[in-house]
Symmetry: C2
Subunit: 396 residues, 2 copies
């Protein structure tokens, strides 16, 4: 397969909006085309992540409409729905088309309105992730991750109040990054949280408070991928796709445990194997921090820290900017926001900015990282996706 | 890119069922694995078409659950939603993964329950295809194709009652094929319709009666694709993928006209170009006959007959088995049934049976065809997909 490069990225300001999914995507797509210096007529195919459009806006089959909306008209256009992983999967399959030689230039992205009916309705929708086998347990995502936190505390013999304090550091870190990020939902908001603020916030699902949880968000993201051979026609700073990986988990009822979710372990290993790299080579990570405990599990499941050592690593600042592995310097889902089907390529947007050294002051990892990774999760560890990007091509 | 072969296919009996989407897909998938002599552990990835699951059964992110359901567990699993084209798009992207060398053996397919809430609800859902720009016109799919019929009559100066008689031949033909097909929704039902039966059936959207329309259907389909290099380890009769194509139309509000829909013209040309073939090389066609007039438009848009000559061709029997180009010898959507997100790979199922000479007596095209094509349409000419299959590899 051919090497593939990212030559342009775009992302809307995240938060509540009255724009439609079409308008949101057009905004991100045109940013990406302008960034790349690519016209709509050069785009040969479109891969779109979208989760809730058919529920919320009544737009089934959104992809071809978006192709026309952005001026790419009759190109093949595919909608991927993998819950929160939707856009990561759009990225992976768009990458496959370019890597295979089927197309030279494609667009990938996602668009989502989650807040049309408000957070309670969105939470209800997400409780349906696996209605046939799981929803009848009454579980919602806050409930699932609350269980993960108590399991973690028990497994590693950490007093739950101690774990809550360690988890709070994830919230403080990601909200501080978001406060500096003009595209974040919580820009200029929770920039100076204290542990006590997180612990005393409204309880959502014990032991998780509101500040342990990411918000629902409206937004869109886009990236333009092309064959590495032609990337320098468009940009002096192509960012290369070094590896991609995906894996499936079996839903709530089939997990032996969440703490060592096999789906993330396999997906991240697959992406790193394709890249010929190990976790130690990753210099910055955009991770699916839907809850504070979720980010801690990611550290361990990808292999940045030993089993049971993730919470401690967070509390010690090892995942801050300047730490051993900076995680979510854009604010993550928790601070930048989580527009479900658009999140995967929004992570790519932030990672490309980091690798180009274009991130805002205070959030840029220095020295500018050579290699970074995105981690995305859909459902109850059901759909995992990982993307490894670098400033140089893959080593062969 | 590598040549890709189909080594196994499966399809449930179409019709109303109480089985879940999971159970339906497992049935089709296990048929396909048995047909191929492949075990679940050999499957490296899964591409699933599903349109209504998140609306109807509350199963968002269905793909990873299906992977576990069939025993393929942690493989990457992707859900494609492109309305009626969903499974064709699953096929195309699964093909891309094998053609590129990413995987050697994958499964593609689709699963759908449309009848949970009944046909009126399904029709309402489908009126939402493009709610932002189109649903406010009050149009439903029967209405769109009724308009297409009257446009066709006007454009080609055919008296509408004469056109209705010519359209009736499509209904008679496809229902007759379905009556012989044990997997069809209308097996042993409308096997001997007369023109008068079609004309006098309940009026749905003038000039289309109930017998001009396909039904909604529950069902699932699956196919196993592998690198052509290893296909003969599994079967003596691999069927080769000669070409695939896709194209987008812009929804109801952006079409200049339906009669010469640019999306189908481009999609079919792309598939034929990849195969190095012309319409004259196609010996059997599985077409998206959602309405009788829809099948007639297909004849002309792909290029089997001149503009304005499709209706006449149907009436003359040129698209019957034994005619110039047999269309829908399995009964088509109209007689075999239309489980929306599963239809595309159900067309592949029937085409593979034809190319292997395994179709039921009366429906088998003779001599056994060398090359055939599937045609699939999603939305208002919004998503088109074409697949060209053959008994021999692509000519280079």
């Amino acid at each position: 397969m051919r090497d593939v490069a990212i030559i342009g990225v775009g992302q809307t300001k995240f938060g509540r909006t009255d724009k439609t999914c079409f308008e949101l995507f057009a905004e991100a797509a045109h940013q990406a085309m302008e960034d790349a210096g690519v016209t709509p007529k050069e785009i040969e195919g479109l891969w779109i992540g979208n989760c809730l459009g058919s529920h919320y806006e009544g737009v089934a089959n959104i992809a071809p409409h978006l192709a026309w909306e952005i001026g790419a008209k009759t190109v093949p256009a595919f909608r991927l729905e993998g819950a929160c992983t939707s856009a990561t999967y759009a990225f992976i399959l768009g990458w496959n088309a370019v890597a295979s030689g089927l197309f030279d230039i494609v667009m990938v992205g996602g668009t989502e309105r989650t807040l049309i009916a408000g957070t309670p309705y969105a939470t209800r929708t997400f409780a349906m992730g696996d209605e046939l086998y799981a929803s009848n347990t009454g579980s919602t995502f806050p409930g699932v991750f609350a269980s993960a936190a108590t399991m973690y505390a028990k497994k590693y013999d950490i007093p739950i109040e101690k774990l809550r304090e360690m988890m709070a550091h994830v919230s403080i870190k990601n909200h501080a990054h978001a406060a500096r990020n003009p595209k974040a939902q919580f820009y200029k908001k929770y920039g100076d949280l204290k542990v006590e603020d997180v612990l005393s916030a409204r309880m959502i699902a014990w032991p998780l408070t509101l500040l342990d949880c990411c918000p629902f968000t409206d937004g869109a993201s886009a990236a333009i991928l092309c064959s590495a051979d032609i990337a320098r026609r468009y940009t002096d700073e192509p960012i290369y796709v070094l590896g991609v990986g995906a894996a499936s988990g079996g839903g709530l009822s089939r997990h032996e445990e969440y703490i060592k979710a096999i789906s993330r372990i396999q997906s991240s290993r697959r992406a790193l194997k394709m890249a010929g790299l190990s976790p130690d080579d990753i210099q910055v990570l955009m991770a699916h921090d839907c809850f504070t405990i979720a980010e801690i599990l990611i550290y361990e499941q990808i292999g940045f820290f030993d089993w049971g050592k993730g919470a401690e690593a967070a509390a010690e600042g090892q995942t801050d900017i300047g730490g051993r592995i900076p995680v979510n310097p854009d604010g993550g889902l928790m601070g930048k926001g989580h527009p479900v089907g658009a999140t995967g390529v929004a992570q790519v947007y932030s990672l490309v900015k980091q690798l180009r050294g274009e991130e805002v002051k205070g959030n840029q990892v220095t020295p500018v990282p050579e290699i970074g990774m995105t981690d995305n999760l859909g459902g109850t560890f059901a759909s995992l996706g990982h993307i490894v990007l670098g400033r140089s091509k893959r080593r062969r």
